[in-house]
Subunit: 148 residues, 2 copies
């Protein structure tokens, strides 16, 4: 049995190819199937499967915008909006380490180009590498692996 872990659980829901790109489009305001398929470059059947899964997982909701013909758009739920910080950090990592020039610039409402920093809600300090200690609570597991 693999290590019990919320990261692994999260990846079963949003870790498949295209799922996070669906969320990117939704956050950019692109919420209809045809436009998503074009912007993501995803095969339609796979995109349909990803959208179904995201709706079932309570990350997106499917809302009708036309009755005749019946047409739907996808909106983020509260749980979906809570994934925005993941995408901010992932985009920033890609901007820094993978591309010459960012394809997109995000501005915070303060007017600055967003430089996103993960901070500790308690002390307000940045959460730097080496500033945290993990404690395993799952029975039968330690940091190193299974204890049994």
């Amino acid at each position: 049995m693999a290590r019990p872990c919320s990261i692994a659980e999260a990846l079963t829901v949003i870790g498949e190819k295209y799922s996070l790109l669906v969320l990117r489009e939704v956050f950019l305001g692109v919420r209809r199937f045809e436009a998503m398929a074009r912007n993501i470059g995803a095969p339609r059947d796979i995109l349909a499967a990803r959208l179904k899964r995201l709706v079932e997982a309570g990350i997106l909701e499917k809302v009708p915008y036309s009755e005749r013909p019946p047409r739907y758009e996808y909106r983020p739920t509260k749980a979906g909006l809570d994934l925005q910080p993941v995408l901010h950090m992932l985009r920033q990592w890609g901007d820094r380490h993978l591309v010459d020039r960012p394809a997109m610039v995000v501005e915070h409402r303060c007017g600055a180009v967003l430089e996103a920093v993960v901070t500790c809600a308690h002390c307000g300090e940045p959460v730097e590498a080496g500033s945290c200690t993990a404690r395993v609570e799952a029975p039968g597991w330690s940091l190193a692996g299974p204890t049994a």
Copy 2:
């Protein structure tokens, strides 16, 4: 052609199944193949392919720890360490939305259980849903899609 985007680029490097779990193990201090395979529950051939890719992408480095027999461990580079914020936010999202009880608790060096918040480096305020505006810089693209 799909939307040019650093999130999509990042996912080509760390988006395949098990890649982020490899990074989780490395950050927890588990850096050797056998222990990783066990803790992740990944087939050995797939794990080997993921490690190779992460080394090629400059996210991990392969460092010998024994000469006879030759044995290696995997350490995060600077680019690898920069993925820690992504994992913090992903773990926290899973803790909040997917599991009853977190399998792991992370403490910040201030002594508090880490509640990670993405903030703006310029104004110090939390980056909440709706607090940012994206501007597309890629030629031929707008927020909605291709302009041509």
